[in-house]
């Protein structure tokens, strides 16, 4: 059992950057470009890991250095609970909450580390990151509520897969959006926004710290994909593996096409949108409450 979980984690570690490479390729094709090879993200990471990090002199050093590690571990821990390639995982009551908590923790620590760098851009970026997190949290809470209502549980063991119902479709659709938002893609890449605040929180990070942070971003996206797919896929191993891989590819293509053909929102626009979305989520939650 535990051995299989390790396989899952290894799978994620290896394939998360590959999927990013794949998305880059898809985006390139949508922009009439050749695009880099799908291994490019891996090469980038390897290169970054080899570089010595530079620590800005007016940062709060301990926090600044610790943040990438905590972020990375938080995301990795979530993989113990969310199954990827194989359906096995460590499950207990309330693990759904724990996963959400871990993901938020990763984002918060990441922002905190960036904030401690002392760079105004990083501080702005962290500010934006947190505001965006807060605004999406409400929707997320509703989504959790909906899903929990459907499965009458907060444990993945029971929740996976969801039964076919109106409320589950609505819940998953909302989850689809929330995943998009929290994986910081255009139009919601406001915290990073290269032309505005120069990669915001990442601006001062370098070398292996940067690599760790980027790695955690890829892992986080991959985790959210897996989470989503788990809600759909049946538990029998044979169909599941194939379906899982196929689902990942489909999700990647859909997400990256959306990303390639959107402009960036301003923070206030994004927050307004999230508010509207929470209203929708509330309705969906009520539907779930009715048991439809």
């Amino acid at each position: 059992m535990n051995f299989l979980v390790v396989i899952n984690i290894l799978f994620a570690l290896i394939f998360a950057p590959l999927f990013d490479g794949f998305e880059r390729k898809v985006k390139a094709r949508l922009q009439n470009r050749q695009g880099p090879s799908i291994f490019q993200t891996w090469w980038d990471l390897i290169k970054l890991f080899k570089r010595p990090p530079v620590i800005p002199s007016d940062s709060i050093k301990r926090l600044y250095i610790l943040a990438p590690y905590i972020t990375f571990t938080a995301v990795l821990t979530a993989y113990l609970i969310v199954p990827t390639l194989l359906p096995q995982s460590l499950n207990f009551a309330g693990d759904f909450i724990l996963v959400i908590y871990l993901i938020s923790l990763a984002t918060l620590i990441f922002s905190l580390g960036a904030f401690s760098s002392g760079n105004p851009y990083a501080q702005l970026g962290s500010n934006r990151e947190v505001s965006l997190l807060m605004s999406e949290e409400l929707v997320l809470a509703f989504v959790v509520g909906i899903l929990a209502l459907i499965g009458r549980s907060l444990s993945f063991e029971i929740l996976f897969p969801l039964p076919l119902k109106v409320s589950s479709i609505l819940g998953l659709a909302l989850l689809f959006v929330v995943i998009y938002v929290s994986s910081a893609r255009i139009p919601f890449d406001i915290p990073e926004a290269e032309p505005e605040i120069i990669e915001g929180p990442l601006i001062e990070y370098s070398g292996k710290h940067l690599a760790l942070l980027e790695y955690s971003i890829y892992l986080k996206r991959f985790l959210l994909y897996s989470l989503f797919l788990n809600f759909i896929l049946p538990k029998e191993t044979t169909i599941r593996t194939g379906g899982f891989l196929l689902g990942l590819i489909v999700l990647s293509i859909v997400y990256s096409s959306l990303e390639a053909y959107y402009g960036r929102f301003r923070l206030d626009q994004a927050i307004k949108l999230m508010k509207k979305l929470s209203a929708v989520a509330l309705v969906a939650w009520l539907i779930a409450l009715m048991g439809w």
Partner: protein, 172 residues
């Protein structure tokens, strides 16, 4: 709808990035690339040097060796083709070549050395053979005699001749 039609547009067009530098790239006929001096045709007249805006072309005389050096340094060249415009013999032409990156500085220099004529009077080299031959056509006959004199000696000679003429010699 704008978004979707843009996506379909890009899918229908496909890749537009060129394979360059792995595949060669075409340039049009009149492309202004690296200038090339034809050593056979150049007469060392210095017009190109006077026209060249960034002083990529310099023409100077090496008096010791008695040669005139036409020196083109591509590092300064802006590919304006003014030299091509003004060259009287068509010796300098811009080619279609544009890949000039190189590891050695030498590749960026073109040097043409032209033998110079020494003045019959003072022995100083003063012009290239080729330029003299080229300009001989335009000289009035009475000056052709003084072809092999440097400008200073020529001026001296002319003034001598003039005084002689004034003296009533009827030489001219």
């Amino acid at each position: 709808m704008g978004r979707l039609s843009l996506i379909s547009k890009s899918i229908s067009i496909g890749k537009v990035t060129e394979k360059y530098p792995f595949a060669p790239i075409e340039v049009p006929e009149d492309f202004r690339g690296k200038p090339k001096i034809d050593t056979e045709k150049c007469i060392g007249c210095t017009s190109c040097m006077n026209a060249c805006p960034p002083r990529a072309l310099e023409v100077y005389d090496d008096l010791e060796r008695g040669v005139r050096v036409v020196h083109l340094f591509l590092g300064r060249c802006i590919f304006c083709a003014r030299c091509q415009d003004v060259c009287p013999t068509g010796a300098i032409k811009l080619t279609k070549e544009f890949e000039l990156a190189t590891l050695s500085d030498e590749d960026l220099h073109q040097i043409v050395e032209l033998q110079m004529v020494r003045c019959e009077e003072c022995g100083k080299p003063f012009d290239t053979f080729r330029h003299l031959l080229y300009s001989v056509k335009e000289l009035p006959p009475w000056q052709r005699e003084m072809l092999f004199l440097c400008p200073e000696c020529r001026a001296k000679k002319v003034s001598e001749l003039l005084t002689f003429a004034k003296g009533g010699g009827g030489y001219v």
